[in-house]
């Protein structure tokens, strides 16, 4: 019942063992492929606020240009492609910007 499973320890203790072996022999051989590799976020956490501000700013500029275009150009001469492209670019920037804003403010999605 209260047995100590060795299997769970093998996975984790392989790392310290490797490092001690390396320090003893002073060799710089890289750890084997079996050693667990830490996983970090794709973007450094410290960049989130900057990315949020920059991407939201770009996104809002495109949004503004989209609405200026909608309001000033008459219905007949408006081009659907241009509207869609501006909208897509704006939504990509706003989407990533709001994601980074959420992450920077501590809402880890």
């Amino acid at each position: 019942m209260y047995c100590c499973r060795q299997e769970f320890k093998n996975g984790l203790q392989s790392k310290p063992k490797l490092s001690t072996a390396a320090s003893n022999s002073l060799s710089t051989s890289p750890p084997t492929a079996m050693a667990p590799k830490p996983i970090a976020s794709p973007v450094a956490v410290t960049w989130y606020p900057t990315l949020a501000v920059v991407m939201l700013a770009i996104g809002l500029i495109f949004t503004a240009s989209f609405f200026i275009y909608e309001a000033t150009i008459s219905r007949k001469s408006r081009s659907l492609a241009k509207e869609l492209i501006t909208g897509t670019v704006a939504s990509v920037f706003l989407g990533f910007g709001s994601l980074f804003l959420l992450l920077a403010s501590g809402v880890y999605v």
């Binding site: 019942m1 209260y2 047995c3 100590c4 499973r5 299997e7 769970f8 320890k9 996975g11 984790l12 203790q13 079996m34 050693a35 667990p36 590799k37 830490p38 996983i39 970090a40 976020s41 794709p42 973007v43 956490v45 989209f66 609405f67 909608e70 150009i73 008459s74 219905r75 007949k76 001469s77 408006r78 659907l80 509207e83 869609l84 909208g87 897509t88 704006a90 939504s91 990509v92 706003l94 989407g95 990533f96 709001s98 994601l99 959420l102 992450l103 501590g106 809402v107 880890y108 999605v109």
Partner: protein, 613 residues
Amino acid sequence: MRKMVLRLDVFLLALTILWAPALSDLVLSKVDRRIDLTSQIARITSTLKVENAGSGLVSEVLLAFPESQAKHLAHLTATPNEGKGKVKGSGISYPVQLVHAKDMPPSLTFYSVSLPKGLGKGDSFTFDVLAVFTHALKPFPEKITQADIQLLVFQDSAHYLSPYAVKVQTLSVKLPDARIESYTRIENTKNIGSEIKYGPYENLPPYSYSPIVVHFESNQPFAVAEELVREIEISHWGNIQVTEHYKLVHGGAQSKGEFSRLDYQARPHVRGASAIRRLVAKLPPRAHSVYYRDEIGNVSTSNLWSDFKKTELEIEPRYPMFGGWRTAFTIGYGLPLHEFLFESDGKRFINISFGCPINEVVIDTLIVKVVLPEGSKDISVSAPFPLKQWQEKKFSHLDLVGRPVVALEKTNAVPEHNQKFQVYYKFNSLAMLWEPLMLIFGIFFLFVTGIVYMHVDMSISKSSASYLAKLQWDEVQAAIQQIRNIITRCLVIHDKVEASLRDLSRTGDIQACKAARKAADGLLKELSKEMKPLLAFLQSSQQAAHLLPKVEELVVKVKDLEERLMVKHSTIVDCYEKKYGGREIENRVASQVQKITALRQEVDDLLEFIDEI
């Protein structure tokens, strides 16, 4: 007290009736037991020296616990004995298993320790057994007032209860305080300060039992978490969020009578000695965004210290907790992802501590929920002790199908269970993009709505005069915009012609200048062709009547500008061909240049006027 001793006697009687001979030929040549009662958790460390007196090979040693203890047993490990200067956490422990033997007394619970190698004839082996008991210390009296001290009772046997004969044994009981109310005195009993020593006793037969009762003062807080739910949420965007919901009760002597805050504040160590004042949680290093709140909101009585080794959170409940009082609160913190999440063999796993970070807390029901990111597959758990396990779904921010949750339950958890456990799962990194994609599509949907709204004709009556007028006005506007665009392009071409003239004065390349002129002529002709139908439309439209003069004026002015520019151009080119001097050329085109500047100004004014429509 007398009743309790009587009960133990009955138990002893039962034992003698159910006497059974030891199965193997093992003999315990030396047993040292140390009972640590300094906290609310009773820890019994026994050093056993096993000797094989028979001839067969023995690889298992049985440990016996009376039923009264077995039901409080929270943790049991057997580790190699490393002498006095023992190194903790060497990580090696021998497998311990619950066994049900038929020919053993049923009032005893047996655990068997598998030795690393079998004991031959005459061999001996020494190892440590750590047994941890919760709720084994009973408050006596069970109810005290605010001013009373808390007294506890602990029962055990002075003789090591074992299916084997024991040659030499000693027992020492360590208490938190030197103030001892009473303790059972048998032969060879000594009391030195806060320690009581029994033994040595020699050559005792199997199943010897000599009940002892220690009644002592202890003002240790009895923090018992009736339920602790730890939620560990993994976000691959760089964070592990841990949220711990505590339902805490003071499990010591019940408080009776009234509570005086004044007495408590004036002399806290006399009036409320056993109350829980504060709790200290040892969080992992680099824990951030730590909070401590309950149902009402933030609890401000907390302190946080951190260094590179640990983060210490000291929390004070809203009120000092006396015996039987309850509180519920939540603490939460974020941890950096890369210190707890790893990848090996294509699988990701989180390696994080199982138990509760608060010191010396007994947890009746501990539920650990690991919330994995959406889209995790092939989930498996590896833990150092048996756990009840099930799976759930949780909906959190930006979820479509819900996040898989691995729930693990452990009853009767003690700080010894603060061991690392692992949850393995498979996850595709591209699945992280679901969240930004959802945001992008959400915002894109708004833009599409805007486009549709601006394009769709939403008027109800399609034949009313105002509607038709509006349609016409739209067309007029479109035509004017097109004319404006054409004129802008014309002006750009004019600028190019001017530029070619400047190039000519710099390089003297007449052929290039002529070519530029030719190209410009062609383009301008095309543009004026484009302009014609638009102008015709404006002339025919009633709506444009008031704008027409301005537009026509603009068109005429632009035409005029073009002509003068061309005249200027031909004159200059002519002059260059005839190799006139710079002054001469300037004189010839001076009047044209003046007019061109004036016209350009007028055209700009008109364009501004048209833009304002």
